[in-house]
Structures are given as C-alpha cells and as structure tokens.
C-alpha cells in the first residue's frame, strides 16, 4: 500500500515536472536540442568506439580484436607503460603542486607571483613542447648531455619511458597545481592558528592540519593529472624512443593502418581507467565534508617558518627554473639554425606558409569553439540550476563526462560517426569546432551551476513579479549575473583548444590543418627549429589573448 502511494506521488511529481517543463516552450525546445547535441557529440562517439571494438559495423560481433590485444605482449606492454608513466607523473606532480602552493599561498612577494606565473606557463603551450626541449637539452647529443659526456664521460639517453614521464610531469603540472593552489587558498587559517597556539610546530601543523584539509583538492588534482597523462599520445611519439604507449599505439593503428577495430579495443582500455576515476570523483568524493571549511575570515595563512621554507623553496626553485629553462630552449631553438650544432641566428624557421595558415585556422576554430562552449555552458547551467528538467542528473553527468573522455577515444569516435550518412562532416571546420566545443562544455557548465547556486533566485522572482516573462528575465537578469561563468568557460576552452591535439588530429583535412597538429608533424620530421618557431608563435598568441582578457577584466570590472 505504501509503495503504491509513493509510486503515485512519484509519477504525479514527474507529470507536474513535465507540465512545468513544457510551460516555457522555448526553454523546453532549447533543452531538447541541448540533450540531443550532448548525445550526438559526446555519448554516441564513445559508444561507437565501444561497439567497433567488438567488430560491430564491420563484419559482425567478434572477440577477435580483444584476443589480438591479449595475444600480443606488445599491446599489453603499451598499457602497462602508459599506466606506469601516468602513476609516476601523477605522484610527482602532486608533490610539486603542494610544495609550490604552500609557498605561493603564503607569500605576496614578487617571487611568489613569478613562481605562480611560471608554474602556469605550460598551460599555453602544446602538451608535447617539453619533449622537444628535453631532446634539445638531454638528447643523445643534447646541450647538457654533451657537457656531462665531456666532463665525466657519462652517457645517457632521454628517449624512452623516463623521457615520457619527465615530459608529462612538466606538461600536466599546471592542471594539478591550479586545483591544489585554489584549495589551499580557500582554506581557513584559523585551524592552523589553533594548532600553532597549542604548541605544534609548523611541519607538524602542515602534516596534521593543512594537508588533510587540502585532501580533496589534492585527490582531485591527482585524478585529473592521471587521466590526462594516461591519454597522452604526443609525448610518446616524440620522445618515446622504442617504447610503446597505449594512446600513441591507438593513434598509429588508425593513421598507419586504418585498423579502427584494433584501435577501438585500445580505446576501450584507455577509457576504463578514466571512467573509474571520473565516477569516483563525481560520486565518492563529493561528500568528503572536509572541503566545506572555507576561508571566510579574511585572515591570511601564517607565513612559512625558516625550516619549512628552506625545504619548499629548494624544490620550487629547482622545478621552476627547469620549466623556465625548457621554455628558453624553445625560444632559442626557434631563432638559431640547429640548436647546439649550428647556433647562428636565423629567422628562416618562421617562413612557413603552411605554419601560418594552420595558426590562423587554429585561432578561428578555437575562438568559435570557445564562444559556443561558453554559451552552451551558461545556458545549460541556468536551465539545470533553475528549471525542472526530466533526466537532469544524467545529462549533467554526461556533459561532465565529456571532459574525462581521452581525446584519442573521442577522435576515433568522431571518425566512426561522422564519416558517413546521416552526418557526413569529415573534413569540415564545423566538425573540429564541435569536437572542441563538446569536449569542454563541462567547464562552463560547472562554473555556471556553482554561480547559480550562489545567486538567490529572488532577483529572478522579482523580475517575474514585475511582469517580465521568463525569457526576458533570462536575458536581463540571469545573463549579466552569469557573465563571469561565461568568461571562465570561454577562456578555458580557447586556451585548451589552441593547443589541443589528441582528438582533432583525426579530423583535420587540407585547409583545416591546426597549429598544434602541424607542430607535431614537424617534430616527427625532426624539424626541431621549425617546430620550436611555430610553438613560440603559438605561445605568444595565447599569452596575448590572455593579456587582452586581463585588460578587459580591468576595464570592465568583471572578474575572470
């Protein structure tokens, strides 16, 4: 009897929800379009990869390709290599993030600002840039290698597993760092102060109070870095030497042999860890409770004591100098003939029409994707936070899932879906834009939802009561309130789209080549000079765009 009642109330609730949903037809239509788009551009491609791995769509259901996977130690090795490299990179990135965050959040000195800037620098470069500079520095005939060789007769090679690990640490560091830093910045200092007052010294306080409090941020950072490092395919291609890595292998299977089925199997093994991590992060971590302590007091954290500071600063200085050195190598590499061999100044590496064309395409495409992603994120955030939408939770999950899908898998999925009817989009700019957009809309969505939760709905109610309809309220009240979320989505998507490679590399065609892909191609031809030159220009462009946004932020007073 009771279950009966709950069922009727439940269905009644559902019916009323539906009625409400349909009462604002434009929002209903928008939501439906959004949902369809999310399905088409995020969910279906992933499923397509999954089905393809069983041979569905090309000769019927079979386990053949999985058998092949396990029959060759080669594929299994590539999986183990990728997992190993990802785990090591993650641990190192997290440790370094904590170390730098500790200093940066407790000091306002110029040095602290400089460290922060340098730590974030890798964000604006293609993810494989460090492979290039590592080869320049530590290759078999690198600048440092030769010195060591001359001085001690020491010989080593950066190509291989450890080269990849090093490149990943440098490349994915900013992602981890940003999360750890923001957690530490938002932490209330009162608990730390209490601990110090009760007699614990600083290192004990750090161990017992600060780190446990930052745990959720640190875990989140670790998971994110892990997923990105696992899906990394460009570093193994450049610096992997003979070692195989799973994402790179999947890529080579597609472009070298068009063996989409086998590539799909590798894709499945690539997506499983990402999916586990994503579900863990979404459901298990949400209610850790510790993160709720946030800094409202306005007091700042106690500066580090001498002893802790000396440890932290040694690590930080070493690491930051390393990052800066890497970038200097790229800049030098761009302006000399062949760095380390013929160091005469030249501008010839910049004279590449194909390179400039691809830069132009990248800017246009990234700009469009950023606008689309930010707009959709904002709209979706509003609808999800305020409107009763059937299946809202599932849609939100799927949108955020777009962020977690490894680029290689998404790229292969797009190749499978959009290479024939009914959606023949292969080779078009539109497909690249859509790919970049839907992989990133999660960021704008998250920003908008959290912004909407901070804003009380009374303003919208007031607007409604004063006679403005729901659409007018949205335009006049909600959109202005959400503009910071819009900007956040825009900046993030633009920046990542400019340097993204793993997914779009499958989608380019003559005339739609992208800068990051072009640079990787140059690196494959071992054209370090041209690759460095194009990377340099790309970095300058992304940095200037960021600068421009900062300027707009100052002028308009909208925080970014």
């Amino acid at each position: 009897m009771t279950t009966e009642t709950t069922r009727t109330t439940k269905s009644k609730k559902l019916v009323s929800e539906f009625r409400q949903f349909l009462s604002e037809p434009w929002f209903a239509i928008l939501t439906t379009i959004l949902a369809a788009a999310i399905l088409l551009f995020i969910v279906i491609p992933v499923f397509a990869v999954f089905f393809k791995s069983f041979g569905i769509g090309s000769g019927g259901f079979t386990f053949e390709y999985y058998k092949e996977f396990f029959a060759r130690s080669y594929y299994l090795n590539s999986l183990l290599n990728s997992l190993g490299a990802a785990i090591i990179s993650t641990i190192v990135v997290v440790l370094l993030s904590v170390s730098i965050s500790l200093y940066v959040t407790r000091s306002t000195s110029f040095l602290s600002k400089f460290y922060r800037g340098a730590a974030l620098l890798p964000l604006v470069a293609p993810p494989f840039i460090f492979s290039l500079s590592l080869i320049i520095l530590l290759g078999r005939n690198g600048v440092v290698t030769s010195l060591l060789n001359d001085a001690f007769g020491l010989e080593f090679s950066i190509y291989g597993f450890w080269g990849v690990v090093l490149a990943q640490i440098l490349g994915y560091f900013p992602i981890g760092y940003m999360l750890v830093e923001s957690t530490m910045r938002n932490m209330s200092p009162s608990l730390e102060n209490a601990s110090r007052d009760l007699g614990a010294n600083q290192s004990k306080t750090l161990r017992k109070i600060t780190l446990p409090l930052s745990q959720s941020g640190i875990t989140k950072a670790g998971l994110l870095v892990f997923v990105m490092a696992l899906a990394d395919f460009s570093n193994p291609l450049i610096i992997g030497g003979g070692e195989t890595f799973i994402a790179a292998e999947a890529y080579l299977l597609v472009v070298g042999q068009q063996n989409l089925e086998q590539a799909a199997v590798l894709g499945v093994f690539l997506i499983i860890p990402s999916l586990i991590v994503f579900i863990f992060q979404t459901y298990v971590m949400k209610d850790s409770g510790l993160e709720t302590i946030s800094g409202e007091s306005g007091a700042s954290n106690a500066p580090l004591t001498k002893r802790v500071k000396s440890v932290v600063m040694t690590i930080n200085t070493l690491f930051v100098s390393f990052i800066v050195l890497m970038f200097i190598m790229v800049v030098l590499g761009a302006f000399v003939k062949i760095i380390g061999i013929d160091n005469s100044f030249t501008l010839e590496h910049f004279q590449s029409r194909n390179g400039w064309d691809s830069l132009y395409t990248s800017i246009i495409v990234s700009f469009l994707a950023a606008i689309l992603a930010a707009t959709i994120g904002m709209l979706q955030g509003y609808l999800f936070a305020r409107k009763p939408i059937p299946g809202k939770k599932a849609l939100e999950f799927l949108t955020l899932f777009g962020l977690a899908v490894p680029g290689t898998v998404m790229g292969i999925g797009y190749v499978l879906i959009f290479n024939g009817s009914p959606f023949f989009l292969t080779g078009t700019v539109l497909l690249i834009v859509l790919n970049m957009t839907f992989r990133k809309i999660g960021v704008g969505l998250e920003a908008s939802i959290s912004k909407m939760h901070q804003i009380d709905s009374s303003m919208e109610e007031a607007s409604n009561d004063l006679g403005a309809g729901p659409y007018r309220t949205f335009g006049k009240v909600v959109v202005p309130l959400l503009s910071p979320a819009f900007i956040a989505g825009f900046v993030y998507t633009f920046m990542t789209a400019m340097v993204s490679i793993s997914s779009v590399i499958f989608l380019i065609a003559p005339g739609t080549n992208l800068a990051a892909v072009h640079i990787l191609n140059l690196a494959e031809q071992a054209q370090i000079g041209m690759a460095s030159a194009m990377s340099f220009v790309l970095i300058v462009i992304v940095l200037s765009c960021m600068g421009l946004l900062k300027y707009i932020e100052k002028k308009t007073g909208v925080s970014i």
Partner: protein, 329 residues
Amino acid sequence: MKKTIMLLVLMTTMVIITACGESGSSDEPLQVYTHNDSEEMDAMVENIEENTGVQLDVLRLSSGEGWSRIEAEAPEIGADMQIGMLHGFGMKAEEEGYLLPYESEQWEDVPDKFKQEDGEWYGTSFWYNMIAVNEEIIEDKGLDVPQSWEDLLDPQYEGEIALPDPGTSGTAFLIVSTIMQQMGEEEGWDYFEQLDKNVGQYTKSGSAPAQLVAQGEYAIGVSWDQAVLDYIDEGYPIKSVMPEEGVGYSLDVAWIFENTDQPEKAKEVMDYLGSQDFMELSAEYRSMVTKPGITDDSNVSDNFIDYDAQWDADNRDRIMEEWQNKFSN
C-alpha cells in the same frame, strides 16, 4: 557585459554562416595531399600559386599514413589532388580506380616510363635510399663507417642506427622492398630481424633519421638522398654512404583524384607540374627530375638496383602485415 556577449554570439553566427557559404563557391582552394617534407612543399606551393593562380590547401601526411587515409576515405576522398607520393601507391590507386586520367601536353617530353599511359599519374622526380653517417660520433666511439647494407648488421652499431618505420614512411618501405627484392623474402626477414637489434629508434617520417644524425643523436641513419645531401650542404659533420649492394629508387608521382569537384583547376596544376619552371624548382630539392636535361643523373643511377615498383604495389599489404607481426610483439 551582456552586450559584449551578444556581440560575440552574433559574430560567431556570422562567421559560421560565411564559413558554410564558402564551401559551395568555386573559389575554394584546391585540396592537396602530399608526402613531401614541409620545407620543400612550402616552396613548391608558393611557386605553383604564383604561376597558375590556383590556390592550394595542403595537408602533409607521410606516405603510409596518406595511403591509409585515401583508402579509408574512398570513394569520397578528401582531396582533389596528390602532389608527391610513392610510385607503388600510384599504381595501386590506378588499379583501385581512384584516379582521373588526364593527358597533359606539358608532359610530352617526359619519357613514357615516368608516367602512366592514360595519364592517371605522372612522375615528377625520383629519389633513392641513402645512409647518413655522423663522422664525429663514428670517430668518438671508434666505429667503422659502414659500406653496405650487410655492414649495418655489425654488433658494433648496437643502438646507433635510426631507421624510419615502414608502417608510416615511404622511405622505409623502399628500404624494406629493396632488401626483399635483392635477397628474397626469407633472407630479407632474417636481415631485418638482425637489423632490429641495432636500431636505436624507428621514426615516423623518412627524413627524420637524416636530421637525427645531423643533430648527432645517432651515428647512422637510413634515409633518402636529398634529406641527407641537404645537411651535408649546410656543413654538418655527416657524410653520405651508398650501400655497395645498390639502393632502390622510387618515382615521386602526382595525380588527380577521380572524385574531384574542381577538375579544371587540378588539370591546370598538373600541366604546370610538367613545365620547365616547376621541374627546375623541383631540381633544387631533388637530385633527379624526370624532365630530360635538367638534372644530371648519369653517375647516380649506377648504384640503382633493378627495382620493381609493381612489386611494391602487389606485395605491400602482405609485407606490412608480416612486419607488424614480427616487430610488434
């Protein structure tokens, strides 16, 4: 702020609309695949655009990569034309019916062996395998300069050889094909299994080994003629070695895809490729071009084996499958 956002959204819509509108018009650039190196191709594209007025959009893919893309895209191949590809793939494409026959008058004086009889593909230049050796490393490590394919198997070169990967690189497939045609398949496989022990790195592109040797990353790199000679000209401490047993050579061919929607423009470009002007430009980047009287190839061709490009076309799939089986384990 709201206005800015509205403006941005409006701009986006406009850009998308114009982008979509463009694709229908006849001013669309000609879409071209190539396997040529970026540096060379940049110069060629500029020259072609200047002299024909046809705009080109180029995508560079190494030979193996380009071919598998073409096969996957067929019959809706995503380019109008290919400028620079392996001879063997030209033959395969012809068999598969991917190509548009076009008899160009500009190509008349090019010997018949360099072009397909119905004008389905035309050979612009040819190139051959060449070994690059870094003299400094050889001296430092007390190694001998290899003189033949056989020498490369010597254990003293362990980890010192850079070889392109035949899965993606046409240069590499030419090496594989040469060895197989010379030694026979069984011995050929033995050769590569032994060579594998000395290979420090397989590269995706065929020019990369030359560059790696010039940079001093490896002592020996197997690559192709011009890639090596360029670095010698620029003064790097490397020398070229032509293996005693002889090398294979391949014609670099161009063709028009059957499904092109701009055949007139493509034909115009094809005419130009056969002109004296273009062949002379080509000769700056290649040691030999097919138009008579531009390059002197009398002394190089002594080193060529009796290479059979048809063998490439017929056996590539099978050989590559076995390659994957042997070296991907």
